[in-house]
């Protein structure tokens, strides 16, 4: 009835629609009862839908405050660090009393040092000490600031210049920590989306640099150029599929000159060939080879006679051969200068204490004045390598030219812990007989490819023939006794 009334109203208002409405009303009267009932139910249904609670596809479960409190109450974090057993073999470090020089006192026993990377014996050099002292008198100890903010000293600039000159490159940049050098240099260039081809045996700081760069990392088998070329070819095919993308992906090969973990030399000439063939840049880590290989100690480039300009970036630390602290990168200004604003370890860290920079300068002086020192070192390395051959139960890993050899077990016991125990027994045996050796240490869980346990034997120019013979003899005895 009401409906009728309404329709009459609207009839008046909208004359144009009059006939339509009249027809509708007529149809309404004529419709059968069941139809009307059905429509009535439908209308009611619509109204119900309109007023009922909103229905969601996915039920949202908003937690009540109380539930949240319970969750917070319940949550138990893991302990900050897992407990370390008191008798963990590497928890108690060997203590060195006095200087870590050629004669070293380890755990109270005076020994001959076959463990520190003091290849050129510059740690004990009086000249270096005097230079450091005079620097200390002038500048004090610390720098109290990063390079940018009054932390650049004239000796830093001098050292950079000298390093560049020594390596015959355009420019060098120094870092205050050896580890941070390559670890900062890699992410300064290689960014997300770039590709880095890395040798499996690459040292830990390279691995950290790669991780920080967030680039795409492809490992090739250690020193296996065919494997590297396979990866490069794969990438080339990939590039052809998407040439547009390929034009912006930077590629790098990161290798070590002399591998600290395997004590062998990278095949640099082949790498340079691959570099130009596939247009990949080479970054070379020379911490172990700088001041060791080559006629003038310039490292692996000089060793192979490779043009140093063919290597995009060379990094090395000043903690081994130079026996100071810190590290440096060198190469063309186009490459190196970029690090002055984007090398994190350079920009955001306090600069190298000036006395350590001065010590490095003096060490460079000594290296330049007496290039014969490298010949001596190389001869001694060869000698030691030979002397250690045929040690029963132990195999000598590394090339004859390397100053830091590894002695690995010929037959592993099957468990790393037991292997380490055996090797440690050899080290202890030698320590008692005035030969200071050390185990090569790794972060077992973090290393990309964990090298087998080994004893490090380091050759320095200060060791005499007799001392080396004695050390080799001592290791042999220990091996016979302990490994049976």
């Amino acid at each position: 009835f009401e409906l009728l009334f309404h329709s009459r109203d609207s009839v008046k208002m909208a004359a144009g629609q009059q006939w339509v409405l009249v027809e509708m009303v007529q149809a309404f009267y004529e419709a059968p009862a069941y139809h009307l009932i059905l429509e009535g139910i439908l209308i009611l249904w619509i109204i119900r839908l309109l007023f009922s609670k909103t229905y969601k596809l996915q039920e949202r479960s908003d937690l009540t405050e109380k539930e949240k409190e319970e969750l917070i109450e319940e949550w138990q974090p893991e302990p900050l660090v897992p407990l370390v057993s008191k008798d963990h073999p590497s928890l108690n470090y060997d203590v060195v009393t006095g200087p870590p020089s050629h004669r070293i006192i380890v755990n109270g026993k005076e020994c001959i040092n076959f463990a520190s990377f003091n290849f050129l014996g510059l740690l004990d050099s009086e000249r270096v000490k005097l230079k450091a002292l005079s620097s200390l008198k002038k500048y004090g100890v610390g720098t109290c600031g990063p390079r940018g903010f009054y932390g650049t000293f004239d000796v830093h600039l001098e050292l950079e210049e000298r390093l560049a000159k020594f390596m015959r490159t355009e420019e060098a940049i120094i870092y205050s920590y050896g580890f941070a050098t390559i670890a900062s240099a890699i992410p300064a260039y290689s960014k997300r989306g770039d590709i880095v081809f890395v040798d499996e045996a690459a040292c830990f700081s390279i691995q950290k640099g790669l991780q920080a760069s967030r680039s795409f990392v492809k490992y090739f088998k250690h020193n296996d150029m065919e494997d590297l070329e396979r990866l490069l070819k794969e990438q080339e095919i990939e590039d052809q599929k998407n040439p547009r993308k390929a034009r912006v992906i930077r590629r790098f090969i990161v290798v070590e000159g002399l591998y600290i973990n395997t004590a062998d030399i990278c095949p640099l000439p082949e790498l340079v060939k691959l570099k130009y063939k596939y247009k990949v840049r080479i970054f070379l880590e020379e911490s172990m080879s700088f001041g060791v290989l080559g006629e003038h100690g310039r490292g692996v480039t000089e060793h192979f006679g490779v043009n140093i300009d063919d290597i995009d970036l060379i990094s090395a630390n000043m903690e081994n051969a130079l026996a100071s602290i810190g590290g440096f990168c060198c190469g063309r200004s186009f490459v190196i200068d970029h690090q002055r604003l984007s090398g994190q370890g350079y920009c955001f860290s306090a600069s190298l204490p000036p006395m350590l920079a001065s010590a490095a300068i003096e060490a460079l002086n000594i290296m330049e004045e007496d290039p014969g020192i490298f010949r001596v070192l190389q001869d001694k390395c060869k000698h030691m390598h030979k002397a250690l051959q045929g040690t029963p139960g132990l195999k000598t890993v590394g090339e004859p030219l390397t100053p830091a050899l590894h002695l690995q077990l010929e037959n592993s016991t099957g468990s790393r812990t037991n292997d380490l125990k055996l090797l440690r027994a050899i080290v202890d045996y030698s320590l008692d007989r005035q030969i200071a050796l050390t185990l090569a240490r790794y972060l077992d869980k973090e290393e990309r490819f964990l090298p087998p346990p080994s004893i490090r034997v380091v050759v320095t120019v200060e060791q005499t023939q007799e001392e080396m013979e004695k050390a080799a003899q001592c290791i042999r005895e220990a091996a016979v006794k302990i490994l049976k």
């Binding site: 002292l133 109290c144 026996a323």
Partner: protein, 563 residues
């Protein structure tokens, strides 16, 4: 309202009234389950911080971040706009060889390689940084003490290259080095001890701590540091930056959550990233933001899987080196305890520089060091040496001895550096039998108060906490960065100026680091010069009431707190 609120020291009465006020409003933490009320976030421009949880503080905690005046902000953006347009113009000219390009070029043989870095990345360096590059990397040729000697440089080609004239700028007052306690010295007990150590040990170590580079000196230092900090055990590392970036990955990993302050130092950020943990960032020193993240993290667990987090680590710094603010440690500790998170405190700038006994921010607030799980700090600043440490429970340090990347793969600390830290730390502790260390601490705190008060009175906008020896002075406009640095050097004062990207783009600033070695005369000379340059460059932006009475200030504080 925001301008007047916090600059003056609040007396106890005012604090008391604030507290009552909050309770009356029914908005305090009595009713709310959160420790700190979840008020709406303040706009970043309005960064005025109040002592929101006054019960936790034993003394007034006053930090001010005055709002950027609107006109200044507009002009600053315009300045960058003009510089950018000119940059493009000059790049265009360089491209067409109208202007000589001084940039190092790629080698001919490698022209067809993928570019080593995008040219665009260097737009900022080439066109903005290069113009004012002479304000950074100024070479010094003396002790970086209260006064220093600078090597004079000239540039024939607008900062593309520098030449040393051979002259030395003598006795420049050093307001830039982090020499808080004045231990950057070349004479005195520290230098003597370091010399002796050099003669005995040499400078290098050539091995790692785990192999054969663990010297007796290092062990001595670690015992001393543990005693100094009041913790069970400690470990020292050769580089402060690496202490963060190489140890955080040993502590957390996948499935862990790191909550990091937005203004944390690059080393903390890198360490967090290397750890592989999930990282979430909370607003600078904003406890509401931190608490919200903590609650959400525990309630919701890990993303997608909703597994509970293995552990939550909060990363904060003691003094933030670019803001001069001090972490709200009492509140952070309260939160950490409530939500059972772990706390990593980086005291790079605060160790030695804060606290009545120089033991850093924990000492400053009079808290218990055992409430902080990981106490990290550096030796570069207050101790005038290099390196960093981590202190904490014995289990933590034992674990680090085995798993720290630094202990296994990095050469240990140089012996003379170690000696310098030992001697200077003993001096601060008074173990050398003198009160020299204590005097330095008092001097630093006195100098800080004086320097900050004077700058404030002059009408500069100064950021940070009233007790922080890091004093940022706002410059805002890009052209003023260069001008300020140069004008100050003309007046024989060395200052640090910082702009983008180290700061937000419109918040360029100069930064002064007050030292105990500064005498009142030096500070006065510096202050006069700053005032002069401030007038010249129109830097006295502050619209705060400079000499207003205490009463009105407290009143406005209350008002601003109610909204």
């Amino acid at each position: 309202m925001t301008q007047n609120s916090t600059s003056k020291l609040l007396n106890g009465d005012a604090l008391h009234r604030t507290k009552q006020d909050k309770k009356a409003g029914g908005n305090g933490f009595v009713k709310n389950r959160c420790l700190f009320q979840q008020k709406r976030y303040r706009r970043p421009a309005e960064k005025n911080h109040h002592a929101s949880c006054t019960l936790l503080y034993k003394k007034p905690f006053v930090e001010s971040f005055e709002e950027t005046p609107l006109l200044v902000a507009v002009l600053t953006y315009m300045g960058y706009g003009i510089l950018t347009i000119f940059g493009y113009l000059r790049d265009f000219l360089r491209d067409w060889k109208f202007e000589k390009c001084h940039l190092a070029r790629e080698r001919e043989e490698q022209k067809d390689f993928v570019p080593l870095y995008q040219d665009f990345e260097n737009f900022y360096t080439r066109n903005l940084y290069m113009r004012i590059r002479d304000n950074w990397n100024r070479p010094i040729c003396s002790v970086p003490g209260a006064k220093m000697d600078l090597v004079e440089r000239v540039t024939p080609d607008y900062n593309w290259t520098f030449e040393h004239t051979g002259n030395v700028l003598k006795d420049v007052i050093n307001m830039g080095s982090y020499n808080y306690l004045g231990f950057a010295e070349n004479t005195g007990t520290c230098a003597d001890a370091a010399s002796e150590c050099t003669v005995k040990y040499g400078v290098g170590v050539s091995s790692t701590r785990q192999e054969i580079g663990n010297l007796d000196k290092h062990e001595e230092l670690e015992k001393l540091v543990a005693g100094f900090l009041g913790v069970e055990s400690s470990m020292a590392f050769g580089m402060g930056f690496a202490t963060n970036s190489m140890n955080i990955p040993a502590l957390t990993g996948k499935g862990c959550l790191i909550l990091s302050d937005e203004l944390n130092h690059a080393s903390l950020v890198l360490g967090a990233r290397l750890s592989g943990s999930t990282i979430r960032v909370f607003k600078h020193n904003n406890m509401q933001s931190l608490e919200k993240l903590l609650r959400d993290a525990i309630v919701h667990g890990q993303p997608r899987t909703h597994r509970p987090w293995k552990k939550i680590l909060i990363l904060v710094e003691g003094i933030y080196s670019m803001e001069g603010s001090i972490v709200r440690l009492p509140e952070v500790i309260a939160l950490k305890k409530k939500y059972e998170a772990y706390l990593y405190l980086d005291e790079a700038h605060s160790i030695g520089a804060l606290g009545p006994r120089g033991r850093g921010v924990v000492d400053y607030f009079g808290l218990d060091p055992s409430d902080v799980d990981i106490m990290m700090g550096t030796f570069t600043k207050s101790f005038g040496a290099a390196g960093g440490y981590i202190g904490g429970k014995k289990e933590l340090i034992d674990y680090l001895r085995l798993h720290s990347h630094s202990a296994i793969h990095a050469t240990s600390m140089s012996p003379p550096i170690t000696q310098q830290i030992i001697t200077s730390m003993k001096c601060i502790m008074g173990e050398d039998g003198t009160t020299l260390g204590q005097e330095r601490l008092c001097q630093l705190s006195e100098n800080t108060t004086y320097f900050r008060r004077r700058l404030h009175e002059m009408g500069f906008i100064i950021y940070g906490n009233n007790d922080s020896p890091v004093v940022p002075l706002m410059l805002y406009m890009p052209a003023k960065i260069g001008a300020f640095g140069r004008e100050m050097l003309k007046r024989n004062i060395g200052t640090v100026v910082v702009g983008f990207p180290a700061t937000p783009i419109i918040e360029s600033r100069a930064r002064f680091c007050v030292s105990a070695a500064h005498t009142r005369e030096m500070l006065d000379k510096a202050l006069n010069a700053i005032s002069e340059v401030g007038d010249l460059l129109q830097l006295k932006y502050s619209r705060k009431n400079r000499h207003g009475s205490e009463g009105t200030d407290c009143f406005s504080f209350l008002e601003s707190h109610q909204d």
